[in-house]
Symmetry: C2
């Protein structure tokens, strides 16, 4: 999601928070994910952000509404943009959604798609192993193929014509997923759709970053940065990626408050 937003809005300053000390969110309860989302939002607010993107399908699915009610700034999740693209893309009205256990259990995609296309038939499936495969770097080998076939066979049989990749890890497996469902099924990558939405919201508010210079990127993580940097290089295609460790939650906001944003 970050890569797409940075490509779409190259002049914006972006502060990224990866809660690496507590991921994955996809196996947690809605209450715990919401608590983590609140803590993360408070951390980012202390850095004077003008807009928040919840760049995680699980957090978007279970906590977006609560975060919006609590914090007074423009907030975009990754779920709505994906749902909108799927509703626009489908011809048969049969849409597949894959995501984490928590995202699928929430039914949030189904609800969002049905709001836009009331007649749509939504087939959902949790694919928890996809996250581990992406992090292991096994994105296009025989294991990935076998796992994809196993998870996606029921969706293929259901006759979907559109498949939402409802977890930010899944686009790394796009090739294998595409091969498994076949070329006639349109894959929706919420990252691209979200970047478009972020641009639209900033334009609507007249809040786009100006000046001709390239935006700054700052990467914060809650665990030691080494593993994030290693995996992040693959995800972001940035070989010089460098992250710093921060704390969120509890009295951590105070500890981090010395840094002030670059808005």
């Amino acid at each position: 999601v970050l890569r797409e937003i940075a490509a779409t809005l190259p002049r914006e300053n972006i502060i990224y928070l990866g809660d690496t000390a507590r991921v994955p969110y996809g196996i947690r309860s809605p209450e715990t994910v919401t608590r983590y989302s609140f803590e993360n939002t408070r951390f980012l607010l202390a850095h004077e952000i003008k807009m928040l993107v919840i760049a995680c399908n699980t957090a978007s699915a279970v906590s977006l509404e609560a975060v919006k009610r609590q914090f007074p700034l423009p907030i975009v999740g990754v779920l709505e943009p994906g749902a909108r693209a799927a509703a626009a893309a489908t011809k048969t009205g049969k849409i597949g959604v894959i995501g984490t256990e928590a995202t699928i259990a929430s039914g949030a995609y189904e609800k969002a798609i049905r709001r836009l296309a009331p007649g749509a038939e939504v087939h959902s499936r949790a694919c928890p192993l996809f996250v581990s495969l992406a992090e292991e770097g096994w994105t296009d080998n025989d294991v990935a193929e076998l796992v994809a076939d196993k998870y996606l066979a029921p969706l293929r049989r259901a006759g979907i014509d559109t498949l939402v990749l409802g977890c930010t890890h899944y686009p790394l497996l796009k090739t294998v997923i595409g091969r498994s469902v076949g070329p006639e099924i349109r894959l929706i990558d919420s990252a691209t759709e979200t970047a478009r939405e972020v641009k639209g919201v900033l334009e609507g508010l007249g809040q786009q970053g100006d000046g001709g210079k390239e935006g700054l990127r700052r990467y914060c993580v809650t665990d030691a940065p080494e593993r994030f940097e290693k995996i992040g290089k693959r995800f972001l295609g940035d070989s010089r990626l460098c992250a710093e460790q921060v704390r969120v939650g509890g009295d951590a906001e105070v500890a981090n408050a010395e840094f002030r944003g670059f808005r």
Copy 2:
């Protein structure tokens, strides 16, 4: 580990803490795992335990020594018992160890085995997908087989005669792992070894639970209990498993302090 300890010491009261809001530990840095271990230990100490078992290979590998230095009670990890069993079992002196990224990166098994058998040749390999497979319940299907073959081929080629299952999830994949390495390789399950060690320590201290009645079991988890109960039933073979949610870390000890142990 809990199942083995409960089977070995049926009359002991056991309080189990699963840090389900922050697992898996195997992808985290030593510093973060140690911080979590300290918080978990403080929670359990508030319940007046007489002995602590760190029933996680990652936490044992990176934090056991620090926890022992900090807290004055008998503490057993799962690593040392497994290392001892492996050193005793090997004939060729070639021992394989599989575990999480953090456990393998720590080199703790290698160090422990070498201390017992200085001439031993230790071949280690992180197998991160095994945890997801065990949690998904794919413990004996074609995916598990393919993943096991991929991870274990280098160990097989190295000519090991003993393989330590250095993560508490892996014994669930014992059948597939055993088939992949072949019947001539001895598998070491640290759970069984740890239970034996716990019994020995309690006997040594004269602290065994007495009375003829069955010990109490109490399950505490840091996330909502539903997912733990579902998976725990499979791991523990207890269909009536019932857990309660608690908080650890920060000022959580105070919040939980109303409960006093059953020592």
